[in-house]
């Protein structure tokens, strides 16, 4: 397993796999198979893939620990950057077809409609993460600070789920599904943070009169 994970080729394969949704959409567009409302189709498809890639990215750390596969870290940056890639496409379908590339109209819309505001926030937060995703930036910022900054992905993922939840009219199954995944991944982090703090904390002396052994 380790050999597979550390092989150069695996990275190439994962990279190509991550592009399948993109080329799937290009193929549909070229063959006129985007349905009656192509813009909406692209918006929904790219939106789905942002959430999926955010979930994949957030799943890396728990999976590394649970499966004892530390080498999975090699894919985290790529998955995160693909989340950003699909977020850029998603944003372009909004800025272009929805807002006719009119930036002032876009700002008004972002300020006015909560579901757009929160979606926009999720997107904007990903920008510094994408820019500082290089090894050079990790060094420049220092591991601790870099890690602090990149925790913004938690907010971004929550914002993405809320954005989706607020978009749908009444059938909330899919937003709740992504919400549950994000919640599990974030709660796992909270749990491991608490247990780490506990194990680091000095062992307390049992209160007098309380006997553990009975």
């Amino acid at each position: 397993m380790r050999r597979i994970l550390t092989s150069k080729w695996t990275k190439v394969v994962v990279f190509l796999l991550c592009l399948i949704p993109f080329f799937g959409l290009v193929d549909r567009a070229l063959h006129n198979r985007l349905g009656a409302n192509p813009v909406e189709f692209l918006q929904h498809a790219t939106g789905d893939w942002i959430l999926r890639f955010l979930v994949f990215t957030l799943a890396i750390t728990p999976l590394r620990r649970l499966l004892n596969l530390p080498d999975l870290i090699r894919f985290r940056r790529m998955l995160g950057l693909f989340a950003f890639f699909y977020a850029c496409l998603h944003f372009l379908t909004y800025l272009g077809p929805d807002q006719s590339f009119d930036l002032s109209a876009m700002w008004k819309d972002v300020a006015k409609r909560p579901f757009i505001t929160v979606g926009f926030l999720g997107f904007v937060l990903l920008i510094p993460l994408a820019l500082t995703s290089t090894t050079g930036w990790i060094r420049r910022l220092g591991g601790k600070r870099w890690q602090m900054l990149h925790r913004a992905i938690y907010i971004s993922a929550i914002a993405g789920v809320v954005h989706y939840y607020w978009l749908v009219k009444s059938d909330v199954r899919k937003p709740l599904f992504y919400g549950a995944l994000v919640a599990i991944l974030l709660l796992w982090r909270l749990g491991s943070w608490i247990s780490r703090r506990r194990s680091q904390a000095p062992v307390r002396v049992a209160a007098p009169g309380v006997s553990v052994s009975g």
């Binding site: 409302n37 006719s100 909560p114 009219k169």
Partner: protein
């Protein structure tokens, strides 16, 4: 032996393009109904089916309407494969997929409440209420997409006049068909069924309000609200209730499905109004299916000339 006169041509007889139930499906259906039915009515039906398909039957002799727009119509494919009909699922493609076996035979619409002549209309009777017209209307969804559809029907006021509402009738309440057996997807929709809608009496009397039995020269496809629905082009699409089974005239303003779910988002009137935004969708613009960029939305969806006077003196920001 009695020699029967040739019966009048009925709604079910007009050049069916496809037969609704084939023999096998018919037997299955009868199996569900049960052995009693099979022995009694079932066998009789099998020998001489009294009802054929309503789906995809040509409607001819349609009058033209001065209310029709000359704008480019959307394709039949788009209108039948991109729409909302939450009883059959919440995805835009779901209604087409999940309504294929929707049984609309032996349909009737019951008229109740504050009328002198409460009654039931069969589909055949509905088709005889008034001459059928083709009306090419703009149709604007609250989700900010729009289509242009050649509907077929007649002004709803023709039906109203037949049943003679009493002076107490101030509102009309509409109810859709609902059968969880035929509409298993409905349980995920997040709204209560049966779907209900309503109009003020003067709105219902407006000649633009169409009782619709078809589109694109044919009877209504299942997914677009077969066999009979309302079309109210100056209101958001969800007001145009599908697969009508009950119409009740009453003094009280009736509850409406989306208003019940989210009163801050969907009002009773729900007139197309570019100046009053839905909390989530901007209503100033819309995307016509088939177009990339959005176009401005018109007040009352462009039907102000016919309906604006209905709302004189009303604050449409409050009465959205």
């Amino acid at each position: 032996m009695l020699i029967r006169k040739a019966p009048d041509l009925t709604y079910a007889d007009v050049t069916p393009r496809s037969v609704y139930l084939n023999r096998r499906k018919f037997l299955q259906a009868m199996g569900i109904v049960g052995a009693t039915a099979l022995a009694g009515n079932g066998l009789f039906e099998l020998a001489s089916p009294s009802q054929t398909a309503f789906a995809a039957t040509k409607l001819t002799g349609l009058a033209k309407s001065p209310f029709s727009t000359t704008e480019k119509q959307n394709t039949f494919e788009d209108v039948t494969h991109y729409n909302n009909f939450y009883e059959f699922g919440t995805d835009k493609g779901d209604p087409a997929k999940n309504s294929k076996n929707f049984n609309t035979s032996s349909w009737s619409v019951s008229i109740e409440g504050e009328v002198k002549k409460p009654r039931k209309f069969t589909m055949d009777e509905i088709l005889k209420i008034a001459p059928l017209e083709e009306r090419i209307y703009r149709h604007r969804c609250v989700e900010a997409w729009s289509i242009v559809v050649p509907w077929i029907g007649f002004s709803f006021c023709n039906l109203i006049k037949l049943v003679e509402p009493t002076p107490k009738a101030e509102f009309v309440a509409f109810q859709s068909y609902f059968d969880p057996q035929q509409m298993p997807q409905a349980r995920y929709a997040g709204i209560d069924f049966p779907y209900v809608e309503g109009l003020r009496m003067d709105e219902a009397m407006n000649p633009l309000a169409l009782l619709c039995v078809g589109m694109y020269g044919e009877t209504l496809p299942n997914q677009d609200g077969a066999p009979v629905r309302m079309v109210l082009p100056w209101k958001y699409g969800f007001k145009s209730i599908k697969s009508l089974v009950k119409i009740k005239f009453q003094q009280k303003m009736p509850p409406t499905t989306w208003n019940r779910l989210a009163p801050n988002e969907y009002g009773f009137y729900s007139n197309v109004n570019p100046n009053v935004d839905h909390p989530r969708w901007t209503q100033s613009k819309e995307r016509r299916l088939g177009e990339i960029f959005k176009r401005p939305t018109l007040m009352f969806n462009g039907y102000g000339e016919q309906v604006a006077s209905l709302y004189n003196g009303m604050d449409l920001k409050k009465n959205y």
